[in-house]
Amino acid sequence: MKETNDVILHMVTKVVVFIILTLAIYLFIAGHNQPGGGFISGLVLSSAFVLLYLSFDVETVNSGLPLNFVVVAAVGVFLSVTTGFLAIFNGKSFLTHTFTSKTFPLIGKTEMGTVTLFEAGVSLAVVGVVVTIILGISEDV
């Protein structure tokens, strides 16, 4: 195999990954009123991780990002189901969500809901499952 030189790919990846992560966080926050939400944010996050795994290799990324993505998916599902069961303990039906609005000093009046925790769990589950599938089907035979 001839010597390969992928300096440009590495430099572009180091910049573009942060743009993709910013887009994922924007999509996560824009959900529930505009197009966006936990699932799409998880897909975009997993595309950022897949770009890292593509341009570097598995050992380099795992040494800088020591995450077991199966555990990430499990934590996400646990978080989502827990926010569902919290409503049962308060006497409501399953997955009933609530929200309040508070006034913070700098931000102003913001609405805070437990839907955000549920969406965070969905996002973590999607990231874990997608990255696990892609790393699984791309292993060397």
Partner: protein, 94 residues
């Protein structure tokens, strides 16, 4: 006037995507098909931008960003497959 120009550009984008699809089916080698797939991605991004101008909305801008990311990643994956034979390496050999 502007509406007619936008609709004409949409028709031209559709013709260009059809030509690229023909090139994907016919293309003799794998790099030709990769370039045609990237061409389809660029044309889809432009067509969605024109659609968002026609409908006078901003709801499609995330679609443009995500399509750009997916076209970028798929082009990198296919070119790495052509060059190395594997897409995600376990350890680089250098």
């Amino acid at each position: 006037m502007i509406k007619a120009m936008l609709v004409t550009s949409m028709i031209l984008f559709a013709i260009a995507i059809g030509i690229a699809l023909f090139s994907i089916i016919r293309g003799p080698s794998l790099p030709d098909r990769v370039i045609s797939l990237d061409f389809i991605g660029v044309n889809l991004i432009s067509a969605i931008a024109v659609i968002s101008v026609i409908f006078n909305t901003r709801a499609y801008l995330e679609v443009i960003l995500i399509l750009g990311i997916l076209a970028f990643i798929s082009t990198i994956a296919l070119s790495k497959f052509i060059e190395r034979g594997v897409i995600i390496e376990h350890k680089r050999d250098r």
